[in-house]
């Protein structure tokens, strides 16, 4: 009996011990979990700190390298500079990415201040680039320093004497047209002045304009009763407000706006579009001169591809009915440009004196 009681108490004691042990273990586990949680939180805090530290360090490094650029600029060779600048730009971009990736655990204020820092870096980098490696400006800067030429009298005898006219100002929106404000003139730009350039023409009346060579692009604004002869244009021919003009042009794209009664002898490799136009007549390009073939290949235009019959009219969107604003020239003798030039010159001789008189008076 006693034995059994002893055994019973022994078993109960074990049970209780077990339970106590288990509870102790649970408590320890619980503590461990809590500890882990707390350490996790500190890691997160460290993340913010770590970010601030890394970001600051990297921003400082970039700033320093921008400053270094300035100090070296005296004797640093150019290729070095051209390598360093993109490197810095890349670093800034990388930093931006780092900031963007970290936005999840940063406060709004921190994001904002870091972004401001980045913006400052970017602008100082840009500024350094502007100062140290200014983009090669396009223009006739040599001529700009020369004293201002008196406006030349209108050239009627067909020689490209008007070399001073294509003077392009780089500054601001008040740019200078390549050719502007002419009447009754025969204007010829030689291939040297034209090749690869953007030619801008404005406000012409009764002129014969010849662009030799292969321009990069041609823009015309306001021309009336003019003839424009032009070799292959690498990119686009853009014209607005043409009135009773004749144009012979080869180009990649033709865009014609607000024009009427104009005839275009066209070679277009991509597509021609017209907008707000009336009475536009389109014929196949037939202007020819000895260097045409070479100009085609230099401009990169495909001579065998001519989509001149496919003109899109933005004011006529019906695909079934042909636009009333333009038509193809049919059964029409192709113009003889040489004869046209001759006629123009002989007619113009009558105007010549009158014109020169006028020019003189304006100079005085």
């Amino acid at each position: 009996m006693e034995d059994s009681v002893d055994g019973d108490t022994g078993a109960r004691k074990d049970l209780i011990l077990d339970r106590i042990n288990k509870r102790n273990k649970d408590r320890k586990n619980y503590l461990d979990v809590k500890l882990e949680q707390r350490s996790k939180e500190t890691i997160q805090n460290e993340g913010v700190d770590f970010f601030a530290q890394t970001f600051g360090q990297r921003a400082y490094d970039i700033e320093k390298s921008i400053l270094m650029l300035d100090m070296n600029s005296g004797d640093a060779p150019l290729p070095d500079l051209s390598k360093r600048l993109p490197e810095i730009t890349l670093q800034i971009q990388e930093l931006q990415r780092y900031l963007t990736a970290s936005t999840m655990f940063l406060s709004d204020f921190k994001i904002k201040s870091c972004q401001n820092m980045l913006n400052a870096l970017t602008s100082s980098n840009d500024e350094a680039r502007q100062r140290l490696m200014p983009k090669k400006k396009f223009g006739f800067s040599g001529k700009k320093t020369a004293p201002k030429q008196k406006p030349l009298p209108v050239v009627v005898d067909g020689e490209p004497q008007d070399k001073k006219t294509p003077k392009k100002e780089q500054s601001g929106s008040n740019f200078t047209w390549t050719i502007a404000n002419r009447r009754n003139a025969h204007i010829v730009l030689s291939a040297d002045e034209v090749n690869g350039q953007d030619i801008t023409i404005s406000n012409l009346s009764q002129c014969l304009v010849e662009l030799q060579g292969h321009p990069g692009s041609v823009q015309v604004s306001k021309a009336s009763q003019c003839t424009l002869l032009c070799g292959p244009v690498a990119r686009s021919f853009f014209a607005e407000q043409l009135d009773r003009c004749t144009v012979a042009i080869a180009c990649q794209q033709l865009r014609l706006h607000s024009s009427h009664s104009t005839r275009i002898y066209l070679h277009v490799t991509c597509r021609a579009i017209i907008e707000d136009c009336k009475k536009i007549e389109i014929g196949e390009f037939n202007y020819d001169y000895p260097e045409l073939e070479a100009d085609y290949s230099a401009s990169g235009l495909n001579k065998s591809q001519n989509n001149y019959t496919d003109v899109a009219d933005f004011n006529w969107l019906s695909p079934d009915v042909h636009s009333p604003n333009w038509s193809l020239l049919k059964d029409h003798p192709a113009p003889n440009w040489n004869a046209l030039r001759r006629d123009f010159l002989s007619n113009n001789n009558n105007y010549k004196d009158d014109n020169e008189e006028k020019e003189k008076t304006t100079i005085i």
Binding site: K168, Q197, D198, G216, A312
Partner: protein, 184 residues
């Protein structure tokens, strides 16, 4: 951090962005879109109407809307303003003749209420051309420094060479993403 990354990835997956490409005609909007999407840019003709491209970039789904820039199409631009997250304004850097009208059109857009929240990226396209103005000059001409209503960035790019195109798009997407995150 691991959990947060997963969360973030999940959120990014849901994120769709609507980006509107606008600018005058002949600025190169379609070329930029095609180049960005990795398509051939050899045969691009003036856009009659619009192009839409949906593409994945950096884990975002981008709905890119490229609307033609002809004058007769500009009055339709406002049909596309709704829910726009980013506005890409494409400038032909070589087209000095029309930079004034370019500025006016942009100003009209910026006053538009439905574009008020959009990030503005001005791309000075055609930097590969010899006569192109650089991004600083265009910033001056377009008076970009006066813009206080939008986040903006001006970058000189070339759709033909692809120069800086990707990095500027990354900026746009990053800026939109940041705004969406901080708003939540």
């Amino acid at each position: 951090m691991g959990f947060l990354t997963v969360l973030k990835k999940m959120r990014q997956k849901e994120k769709e962005m609507r980006i509107l490409l606008l600018g005058l005609d002949n600025a190169g909007k379609t070329t930029i879109l095609k180049r960005f999407n990795g398509e051939s840019i050899d045969e691009i003709s003036p856009t009659l109407g619009f192009n839409i491209k949906t593409l994945e970039h950096n884990g975002y789904t981008l709905n890119m809307w490229d609307v033609g820039g002809q004058r007769s199409l500009r009055s339709y631009w406002r049909n596309y303003f709704e829910c726009t997250d980013g506005l890409v304004w494409v400038v032909d850097s070589a087209d000095r003749m029309r930079l004034d009208s370019c500025r006016q059109e942009l100003q009209v857009l910026l006053e538009e209420e439905r574009l008020a929240g959009a990030t503005l990226l001005v791309l000075c396209n055609k930097q590969d051309l010899p006569g192109a103005l650089n991004s600083n000059e265009i910033k001056e001409i377009l008076h970009l420094d006066d813009i206080t209503t939008h986040h903006w960035l001006v970058v000189g790019v070339s759709a033909v060479t692809g120069e800086k195109l990707l990095s500027s798009m990354d900026w746009l997407i990053g800026d939109i993403a940041k705004r969406i995150f901080t708003l939540d």
